[in-house]
Symmetry: C2
Subunit: 97 residues, 2 copies
DNA sequence: TTTGCGTATCGAAATATTGCGATCTATAGT
DNA sequence: ACTATAGATCGCAATATTTCGATACGCAAA
C-alpha cells in the first residue's frame, strides 16, 4: 500500500463520495440492471454531475491507489471497494499520525 | 473539524513528517534550548531541507487545518500537535471510509 | 462489417499547489 | 532609535490537479 498515493486519492471530495456510495451499493445504485455483486457500473457515477471523462479519471485514480478493484464484463466495467487497502490505510494512518 | 481541509493538509509528505516529529519532540528536537513543553520552535523544522518561507507555509497549512496549535513567546513561535483534531480526524475518516 | 454503446485516453485550458527569494512585521537587545 | 533575529507574507515561476470535449478502443448486436 502506497500511503502517499492513497492519501492523495482521498484528498478529493468526489473520490471520497464514490467510495462512500460503493459502501452501500444497494442503497445508491438500486436501479442497476446488472447484479450489484460484481460491482457498480462506471457509468453510474455520473450522478456527481461531472462529465464521463472526468468520472473515468477519478475512478482511475482510485484504482491506481488500489482503493477499488475493477472487473470488465462485456462492454461494462464494474467497480468495487477494496476493503483490504482501505483497512490497511486506516491502520497505517492511525499508526503514523 | 473540516475533513476536507485536514485531508488536504495531510496529503503532503513534509507535513506528515512534521506531525510525526512533533509526536516525540524529545527524540527529534533534543537540541532545543527552550523547554519542549511549550512546543517546537518553527525554525527547527528547517531539517526537511526546504527554505524558511516554504516551511512557514507548510506550518500555516497545518495550523489552518487545526492539526497544530501555535504559541508565540517573545520572538519565537512554538508548534504543538493538536491531538484533539487528529483524534477526531481518525474517528471521522474511519467512519466515512 | 458496420453500427452503437460503454469506457478510457488524449490534448488543452483553468485552477491549485509547491517552492523560492525578497520583503515585511514583531520582538529583543544595545 | 538602531540593529539583529525569528517568522510570516508577497510576488512569481514551476509543477500538479481538475475538468472538459474529442477521439480512440473494446465489445456486442444487427
Amino acid at each position: 500500500m502506497d500511503l502517499d498515493e492513497v492519501i492523495k486519492a482521498l484528498a478529493h471530495p468526489v473520490r471520497r463520495d464514490i467510495l462512500q456510495w460503493l459502501k452501500a451499493p444497494e442503497k445508491h445504485f438500486a436501479d442497476q440492471e446488472h447484479p450489484l455483486e460484481v460491482g457498480v457500473c462506471a457509468g453510474k457515477f455520473a450522478r456527481c454531475g461531472l462529465s464521463q471523462s472526468t468520472v473515468s479519471t477519478h475512478l482511475a485514480v482510485l484504482a491506481r491507489a488500489d482503493l477499488v478493484t475493477t472487473r470488465r464484463i462485456g462492454q461494462w466495467v464494474f467497480y468495487k471497494r477494496n476493503e483490504e487497502t482501505i483497512a490497511e490505510f486506516l491502520r497505517q494512518i492511525g499508526h503514523e499520525l
